[in-house]
């Protein structure tokens, strides 16, 4: 899967779970500091990425992704 395809999916999932605009989910944004994800929502983001990409990410690695870009790079290892 191409990086831009992964990015588009990550943005869509993030916007859905955090109830924000997709356009706000740019690559440099931090899930917690910029997009307002609380710890429980981080868990939901991981669940959403797992389900949508049909993968099972390593939890420690997934939960240490700070930015949208980090998440894209991490998911790219699985797809």
């Amino acid at each position: 899967m191409k990086r831009e395809e992964i990015l588009a999916k990550v943005q869509k999932i993030t916007a859905t779970i955090l109830s924000i605009d997709e356009a706000d989910c740019t690559e440099e944004k931090s899930f917690t500091a910029d997009l307002g994800a609380e710890s429980i929502q981080s868990v939901e983001l991981m669940a959403g990425f797992d389900a949508d990409f049909d993968i099972e990410m390593d939890e420690d690695g997934a939960l240490s992704c700070n930015t949208v870009s980090d998440a894209v790079d991490f998911i790219a290892k699985y797809v």
Binding site: I13, E44, A47, G48, A51, D52
Partner: protein, 424 residues
Amino acid sequence: MKLIIFDNDKSEFLFPLTYLRPSFELKIGFDSLGDKIERASGDFVGKAYFVRDILAATVKERNEGVAVNDSAALSGDDLLVVDGRVLVTKAFALPDGDCVAKSGDDVVLAKVSAATAATLPSGSVEEFMAAAAEKLDTVEIDIELMAFPWDLIIHNPETITADFDAMGKSGIEGNMHPMSCIYGPEDRCYIAPGAEIHPTVVIDTKNGPVYLDEGVEVFPHTRVEGPCYVGKDTQLVGGKIREGCSIGPVCKVGGEVEEAIIHGYSNKYHDGFLGHAYVGEWVNLGALTTNSDLKNDYSSVEVKIGGETYDTGSTKIGSFIGDHTKTSIGTLLNTGSSVGCMCLLMASGAPMPKFIPGFSWFLNGRFSRGAGFKSLLKTAHAATSRRKRDLTEADVELLKAVYEQTKTERSKLIRRDSLAMLKK
């Protein structure tokens, strides 16, 4: 005579209580099924266990010097071989010769001489028992088989009473404040040395005995109704401990509890109702966690085990909660709920699903794998090390194995709910 107690695949009908322990380590009354089997067996010389392979290392570690899954134990001695699911509160009354006893189709006991044992297959305890049943006379004995989790709840009140009578103790050897009272026959109460009963505590023995073991502390405004057994170093921190409870050791329990068995090191500190329930070790029930134990139409309660739904035949059944599970404040558990081990439940206002696979999080009304197995293990290490009972390597390996064992049932629900979340 050598005593052999066995656990096998049939103990899987006791899930979630037997994921991390063999059937004979399940508690009922004052102690475990295995303790009662040992007492009922009289003077035996030597003991051996047969357990599911997944449990062998932990059982071996917890029982130094006891042979575990060693087929050599099935020969060379006179043997009494007993199914670990057997509940027995009196000495086995067995004839002099060789015999077997059954519960339904299950061969649950075999008494065989060394000479007879030598003629039976010793490859596995199941083969041994089947061959013994073919060869030997079947006798009727006074036992109950704890085939399902609810059997333990149903038989707990009478078992507490039987254990109290067998123990033969009564009176106050601990400290009982003069402003507390025993309401009912005083000889149906035993307060062990080191137990501390605060003012305004009521110990009600009208309908059954109450045994408060060493180091138990009962705080003000607690009513303890018999039959009841409270294990060592447990604190009852206020509320109604109604009839039929076995609690502890080392628990902190408050609120309203009725006909419940709570294994050691588990806490239900706050208000909230727990009834006709069985709780494993290292469980924490958050404030106001409540289970239903009666359906609004008074029909018999059903419980899901291993993908199948079973009718308990009882109208009063609460929840079965596996070891290391934690619930948040305000968690509502449905009638006949089965919660696996190491779950993390966060209340959403609605009752939880009736079946929650082990190691899953239930969050915002959805199943999730949460922060994953490593995070759950870290929490378990934190909880156990606080009580100087940290998990051993064998415990960790068992948890990993059960995590894999329960993966399919868990993943299916997690994926379903995660996809639903994305469609919102």
